[in-house]
Structure formats: structure tokens, C-alpha cells
Symmetry: C2
Subunit: 137 residues, 2 copies
């Protein structure tokens, strides 16, 4: 195993108030990442990063993820042209989540279904079970 | 185990294009939820829901989560007063993530550190290791 690119996990106060970036990876070695469109603030997608993906994202300024379905490192846009240029990265209080504000390249459609955002359906409660309503087609 | 409140997982096309809400819970029975402030669109927090938390959120219109640290169902605001009223719920293409737009109650500080958002620090790359910079105090 390679040496970590990030700070060791400190105590609660250091994690929450300190300047050390000490991301927490789960038992699969992943951290969740919420990617937003910088221009609008809209959430484009939720994906996962392993340590390499997070390191490469910081080093190159282009979003890298870990594909859980393909089990491989994934530079977003390599096949689709939807390269995501990082404008800002944030982490949360306990440093177990990443927020990535990006400029979406290509035609700006971040979702593999051809939509701008993966969150194109609202969950609606009515008679019977909750169901989904399209917000973009 | 109780009967599920949600539709069974269908094939890829049904999950992505259909009207059935068939959320995917991970091997711990959880689904990730990104909660945004409806007024601004800013991300307030990333948390997790089990099936009960998701069902109660839909039934009551108030955000419920599963606390992984306390291992219990958690109605946000029960102790802090930061009750979150749901304005809109969305799910993503493969239905393994939830987006919740809320109106934050109380003093609007969703983070337990006393801040409006849990994402109060930017990750900055400079000389040496990446480090964190406060965006609100």
C-alpha cells in the first residue's frame, strides 16, 4: 500500500476545526462526492472517490471518481467528453464527504442518460406508493 | 422484517426512466442523502437514511435520517430545534441517492458545529499537502 497523500485522522476537534485535510474513506476505501454545477449550484451527480481518485482530482483539477460498477478509476469524460473542471472542493465537518463544484465540459450533460443532472426525477407522495415525476426529459 | 414501502428494483431501463420509486439501500440498509437549503440551493449536509427514515420523511414531510454513529433513527432537530421541512425530494438515475431540498428551522444552522452548512471548509492545494480554509466561522 502506498503512503497516504492526506493527513492522518486526528481527534474530533482537529477534524472539525483544523486545517489538516484528513478525509475518511469507508471500509471499501471510498468517500462520497457530491458534484455540483458551479454556474447554477445544481447537484449534477453523486459518485465515489478512492484515495487515488481524490489525489488525482486535486493534482489535475479535473474530476476523477471510482466506478463501483466497473471497479476502476474513472476520469469523468474520457469516453463521453464530459470532462469536469474543478472550480472548488469542500469537505464536511467530519471529513467523510466531498463537495465538488465543477464546470461541466462537452455538452454539459453529466448523466449517462443524456441529461444535465442525474437528479431529473422528483419523488411525489400521492394515493398509494410514492412515485417519480420527470423534471427534465 | 416488515414489507417494503417502496417498489421492487426493476431492470435498468425501468429504474432510470420509470415512475416507480425503487430506492437502493446498501449492504448496511442505508441510502445516501444530500440535503440542500431550498432558498439558496446550498448543500447543508450529507447524511444517510434507512428504509424507515426515508418512509417517515415522505410520510411526515420532515427530514429523518439514520445516525451511523449513534446507530439510531434520528428526526433532525429533535434536540437542536433544527427541524427540516421538506420542499422537494429527488432521486438519481439509478436510484441509489436522495436529494432533499428543505427549509431549515430553528436558527438555520444545520451543522452540529453551529454553522449553517457542514461544508464550511474549502480544500486548497498549495505547497505541500492539501489543507483546509474556513469559509464561515
Amino acid at each position: 500500500m502506498s503512503t497516504s497523500s492526506f493527513a492522518p485522522r486526528g481527534d474530533k476537534r482537529t477534524l472539525e476545526e483544523g486545517q489538516d485535510f484528513a478525509p475518511k474513506f469507508d471500509r471499501d476505501g471510498l468517500i462520497v462526492c457530491v458534484t455540483t454545477e458551479h454556474k447554477t449550484g445544481d447537484i449534477l451527480m453523486v459518485a465515489y472517490m478512492n484515495e487515488d481518485a481524490l489525489r488525482l482530482t486535486l493534482e489535475t483539477g479535473v474530476a476523477h471518481y471510482w466506478s463501483r460498477s466497473r471497479n476502476e478509476l474513472w476520469r469523468k469524460g474520457d469516453t463521453s467528453g464530459q470532462v469536469q473542471t474543478v472550480v472548488e472542493m469542500r469537505t464536511d465537518c467530519d471529513q467523510d464527504a466531498i463537495e465538488l463544484a465543477v464546470e461541466a465540459g462537452g455538452d454539459g450533460k453529466a448523466c449517462h442518460t443524456g441529461r444535465r443532472s442525474c437528479f431529473y426525477r422528483r419523488v411525489v407522495v400521492g394515493a398509494g406508493s410514492p412515485h417519480l415525476v420527470l423534471t427534465e426529459t
